[in-house]
């Protein structure tokens, strides 16, 4: 060691040491800054990521609630099926990622190994379907149709099938009690989509990946109630997915049962008779076209007159709702939605619209009375009506002389209504309208047309009242096409187009006249007409029709009744109602529907009816039949089915027969009556979830009467039979191409 003095340290070294120190502390400062940035500035983001990392949810779906008929008979419930599922987490822990296990499983289940492998792979952008779109921690169902034998094989040799379970699992079942189907009313389920999950995320009932969602009908309308709340067990997992703890978990709440006002027995009859009526109609030759009626679609609604509750609602063509259970096959889906299917998924009772024909006359009658034409005055029912050289014929060109409005309804005299409509049109200013009162259009709106009835089923259509406003909008939307076509085309269609181009924005005399008897551009749905006729029956209250009657929790404790609500009153005085009521009774006893209600115990069960036959451009006529008693209203329609009473009459009569236990001779057998009075009580649901349901006879009690006993159908086409729910002569109605019949 030397005696070098302390000053021997060169300044270069001191400077360098300071540089080192500065470097060192700037490094530490960098670390501190970065730490602040990660933890304080972006801390929330990383907290969320950490939570995603270590919490995994296992979802136990809640049992979906049943859909019951008014007496507690399940229309839709759950059955236990043996579902074989694979746990991806377990499979991934195996050396070959579960390949051999899945192949072995495919062997046991009799499936192709590649199909099984496809089912358990996770969906991503690159993976074609089928693939699993749910949570990878959710057991993935391989099949829900395992036999007990297969399930036993899997469970007994669990060491050969690690990660595979065979468990009895609840699967939706549409039981179809007593031969009813109720497909379109019940709707169907399908797995939830990503968008729906995202949408429902912050709502009151968030969706889970495992959920099935109601897609139509009651299943959709009451989806939240039926679904209940899935149980969620949250596990804290480590980096390998091993469970290291349990986080907050939610217990499953089973879905509530929805009691409907549907009576499965009546529903079965309604479906059967609608189908039969359509089959019968197809045997008839349409005299206008010379070919058999196509009867391609039809619907019937049976409603409680005093509440608007739907007792039966059938739509045809129909389908088996069980096709959707366990995932619909591609083939089935094509059959249900393809062009050739004629769209069986549609509920034509609420989604089918057509011109109403003469059943519209109750509205015209009310409008006329409100416009100041006395009900009991005499109106000339001539065989034809001439407006400026245009001749509008009465049906079958029959003349009835001077009659009051009641008789005009009974015999469905068109010319009486033509005259009323024309006079009113002139009063409103004719082709140069001046503050038109538009009584006939206003009244139609007051009857609730061109508006949803508010039934508790999704996607109800509104129909249409072709008033001035609509005409203007329609003309504006179409004038270019019409004017172009009218210039080029000299054919009949071209002339019509030209006429429409020039005057389509105006309410023409012909439009008003046609409108008055329910022809032309007016569109109504069966449910709208049922609501209207029920309102006539009950004294004027337009009820919002309901299918759901009550929502009852799975333990039967909480009951939410769905009370009838109304959306208005019919715009008539009690006297007018009574007069119309009497006239409609006359229709059933001596008018156009009388031949269908021969022998009906009119004194015991007063029957009211109105027939309608609507013209459809380029198609066969639509059959309408609107009827009511004090308790029930039945409206039926068959597209391209013929006349109102001819095509729909027997079916409606048979539904009444079943309801009241009436036989063809008019004798009432109360024991046979299915539902002489509307069901008022609710089925009881026990604490354990069992339902006290009345037994249902299968097959259901056969309503008496058959086609052969009533006047033969061919007679209805002959001049001997009285139906005169007449369409106007087709050549005079300025028809439009876009006319539709559903």
């Amino acid at each position: 060691m030397s005696n070098l003095p302390e000053t021997g340290r060169t300044s270069r070294i001191t400077i360098r040491l300071v540089v080192i120190q500065i470097l060192v502390f700037s490094l530490l400062l960098t670390l501190g800054g970065r730490l602040w940035y990660l933890q304080i500035r972006n801390g929330d983001q990383y907290t969320a990521e950490a939570a995603d990392n270590h919490i995994q949810q296992v979802v136990a779906p809640a049992t979906r609630g049943s859909i019951l008929d008014a007496r507690g008979v399940p229309l839709a419930d759950n059955e236990t099926r043996l579902v074989v599922s694979a746990s991806r987490t377990d499979l991934m822990k195996i050396k070959d990622r579960g390949k051999t296990v899945l192949a072995r499983l495919a062997g046991v289940l009799g499936l192709k190994p590649e199909d099984v492998a496809a089912k358990v792979r996770l969906c991503d952008a690159k993976t074609p379907k089928p693939c699993w779109a749910g949570s990878p921690y959710q057991p993935i169902p391989i099949t829900d149709e395992a036999t007990t034998q297969q399930a036993l094989q899997i469970r007994e040799r669990q060491e050969d099938f690690p990660g595979i379970t065979a468990e009895p699992t609840a699967v939706r079942r549409y039981a179809g009690p007593g031969g009813s189907n109720t497909a379109q009313v019940l709707g169907y389920l399908s797995p939830v989509s990503d968008e729906e999950i995202a949408k429902a995320k912050n709502g009151r009932s968030p969706l889970l990946r495992s959920d099935q969602v109601g897609r139509s009908g009651i299943e959709r309308q009451y989806d939240t109630e039926l679904r209940g709340k899935a149980g969620v067990t949250r596990y804290e997992v480590d980096n390998l997915g091993r469970v290291i703890g349990k986080a907050k978990s939610d217990k499953a709440v089973p879905g509530a049962a929805v009691v409907t006002s549907i009576d499965a027995r009546v529903q079965a009859i309604a479906e059967r008779e609608l189908d039969q009526a359509m089959k019968d109609a197809r045997k008839e030759i349409d005299r206008n076209t010379g070919v058999p009626y196509k009867a391609d679609a039809g619907a019937v609604v049976v409603m409680e007159s005093k509440t608007g509750r739907v007792v039966a609602m059938a739509s045809n063509p129909t389908y088996d709702p069980n096709a959707w259970v366990g995932g619909i096959s591609g083939k089935d889906y094509k059959e249900l939605t393809g062009k050739d299917s004629n769209y069986p998924l549609l509920n034509r009772a609420i989604q089918g619209q057509a011109a109403p024909g003469s059943i519209f006359k109750v509205i015209t009658t009310t409008a006329a009375v409100n416009a100041g034409y006395a009900f009991d005055d005499g109106y000339n029912c001539s065989s034809s009506y001439n407006i400026g050289g245009q001749v509008f014929k009465n049906f079958e060109s029959q003349s009835h002389g001077s009659i009051n409005l009641g008789r005009a309804l009974e015999v469905s005299c068109d010319t009486v209504f033509y005259d009323l409509a024309y006079r009113q049109w002139q009063k409103d200013g004719g082709n140069k309208p001046k503050n038109p009162a538009d009584w006939f259009y206003k009244t139609a709106h007051q009857f609730g047309l061109a508006k949803e009835t508010g039934i508790d089923l999704p996607n109800e259509v509104r129909g249409r009242v072709p008033d001035r406003e609509w005409k203007k909008k329609y003309w504006e939307a179409n004038k270019d096409t019409w004017c172009k076509q009218g210039d080029k085309d000299d054919s009949y269609a071209g002339k019509i187009a030209k006429e429409n181009c020039e005057s389509g924005m105006r309410m023409r005399a012909g439009d008003s006249v046609n409108y008055s008897i329910g022809q032309g551009d007016t569109l109504v749905t069966p449910i709208q007409m049922a609501t209207i006729y029920a309102a006539i029956s009950n004294g004027g209250t337009l009820y919002n029709p309901t299918v759901g009657k009550a929502v009852i929790s799975s333990d039967g404790k909480e009951i939410r009744e769905i009370k009838p609500t109304s959306h208005g009153r019919l715009p008539f005085k009690g006297r007018t109602r009574d007069q119309i009521d009497a006239a409609l009774a006359g229709v059933a006893t001596r008018g156009t529907a009388a031949w269908r209600f021969q022998g009906w115990p009119q004194n015991e069960i007063p029957m009211h009816a109105k027939t309608g036959t609507a013209e459809v451009y380029g198609k066969q006529t639509t059959s309408w039949f609107a009827t009511y008693t004090a308790d029930y209203t039945i409206v039926m329609t068959i597209s391209q089915g013929g006349t109102g009473s001819g095509a729909s009459g027997p079916a409606v009569r048979k539904i009444y027969n079943g309801l009241y236990g009436v036989d063809d001779k008019g004798k009432i057998d109360e024991k046979k009556a299915l539902l002489p009075h509307p069901q008022t009580g609710l089925p009881k649901i026990e604490k354990d979830g069992t339902i006290e349901a009345q037994p249902i006879a299968s097959p259901p009690p056969s309503p008496s009467g058959s086609a052969s006993d009533s006047p033969s159908a061919s007679a209805s086409d002959g001049s001997s039979a009285p139906p005169s729910d007449g369409p106007p002569s087709p050549e005079q109605s300025p028809s439009r191409k876009e006319d539709e019949d559903r």
Binding site: M1, R9, I13, L17, F25, L31, R34, I40, G43, E236
Partner: protein
């Protein structure tokens, strides 16, 4: 080393008893830098808690005993403290004479790693298995021997008063002395240690007062070396991947980027005060690999938050600040070079270690001094503290 120390202790204390030597006015205890010592002790204490938190439920590592790593870490710290004490006792000056032997031993150990005696962990062959679950990482001790060796050579003539700064020949000798173990470690390949050693060499040259040309030349060689290493494909794929993941953390989050990503999530989720010791979900869930060793800082980040993790950086700052003071205040060049070497070692290694968990440095296998679990690194760090204390305590050279 401790046996050598013991032998020297007896030789240097002929006239006074041990006790009176410790309590005397000029006693070593009074001349120690207690601030640094306490900061280093605090780091070790925090580290022990973090190691326990990270390992108490890693059953695949702790052989079913949640205290396995805790107890070993305490034992390591104890041994480290003893080694530090030994270093103070022996004194850095006395060690000067033993440097050739120590250097030779360390080179032999490093060489041994490349023989079948060595064990490969995480792609690098840096360990020697001793059996009984013990292993040593010789490159850790190399840091000390290179510092001591270079200091001895570079300061030799200056401290002897022969020259004002080391001549070129001396610098070349010193570089040669450092290069031998560095090349061996590069072959392991333990890139992290090589980076630290290069920084140490640079700092030693800086502190020795060697001509600027050497500094510039060394930096230039370092840059060229990096380019060559990259170009010649000396790096293993896992190392290239680490760099790739560093450049783009979103790259393959399940694979290469997994470490960085999970580390960042762990630290980021800690927020201001953290989730509480033993309550970190990332830590409990073992999402961060190597969490008790290289990624120990993520435990602090998650469970102690900005406050706790910041405290670690602060304590490291305290140690380095005191070390810088010692480096500046010591009168002999030998001590200055040793202190500067240790400073650069601690600073760079801490920066690299914490930086990689924060995503601002690429991932390399370097422990955090005092905090990470690991015997060799713990021993080396504490020996270094002992050397610093010795430099401070023995300042009055005439003593």
């Amino acid at each position: 080393m401790s046996t050598a120390g013991g032998y020297r202790v007896r030789r240097f204390t002929p006239e006074r008893g041990t006790w009176s030597r410790l309590t005397a006015r000029d006693s070593v205890l009074r001349r120690l830098d207690w601030v640094m010592l306490l900061a280093a002790l605090a780091l070790s204490a925090i580290g022990t808690l973090l190691v326990y938190s990270a390992t108490r439920n890693r059953t695949e590592l702790n052989q079913g005993d949640p205290y396995y790593f805790l107890l070993r870490n305490i034992l390591n710290t104890g041994i480290g403290l003893a080694l530090a004490l030994g270093a103070v006792w022996v004194g850095h000056r006395a060690l000067r004479g033993a440097v050739p032997i120590l250097y030779g031993i360390s080179v032999l150990f490093v060489l041994a790693v490349l023989t079948p005696l060595g064990a490969t962990i995480n792609g690098a062959r840096s360990w020697i298995q001793l059996g009984g679950g013990f292993s040593i990482q010789p490159s850790e001790f190399t840091k000390i021997t290179i510092i001591l060796g270079m200091a001895m050579l570079l300061a030799g003539k200056v401290d002897a008063g022969d020259r004002r700064q080391p001549d070129h020949r001396t610098v070349m000798e010193a570089l040669g002395l450092a290069a031998l173990p560095i090349v061996i470690i590069l072959l392991m390949p333990d890139l992290g240690s090589v980076m630290v050693l290069v920084i140490i060499v640079l700092a030693a040259l800086l502190a020795s007062g060697a001509s600027n040309r050497w500094i510039v030349g060394l930096v230039g060689t370092g840059v060229i070396g990096c380019v060559l290493v990259w170009q010649l494909g000396v790096l293993d794929e896992y190392q290239i991947n680490r760099f790739a993941a560093f450049a783009n953390p979103a790259l393959d989050p399940a694979g290469v980027g997994y470490n960085t990503n999970q580390a960042r999530i762990a630290i980021g989720s800690g927020g201001l005060t953290g989730s509480g010791l033993f309550h970190g979900s990332q830590t409990t869930g073992q999402f961060v690999p190597e969490q008790q060793t290289d990624f120990i800082f993520t435990v602090a980040g998650e469970e102690l938050g900005f406050v706790g993790a910041g405290a670690i950086i602060f304590l490291l700052g305290v140690v380095l600040w005191r070390a810088c003071r010692i480096a500046r205040e010591t009168t002999e060049l030998y001590g200055t070079i040793v202190a500067a070497g240790i400073i650069s070692w601690f600073a760079f290694q801490s920066f690299e270690n914490i930086g990689m968990t924060l995503g601002i440095m690429p991932v390399t296998g370097l422990p955090l001094p005092f905090v990470s679990y690991g015997g060799s690194s713990m021993f080396a760090a504490w020996i270094a503290v002992g050397l610093l204390q010795s430099i401070k305590a023995q300042r009055p050279m005439s003593a």
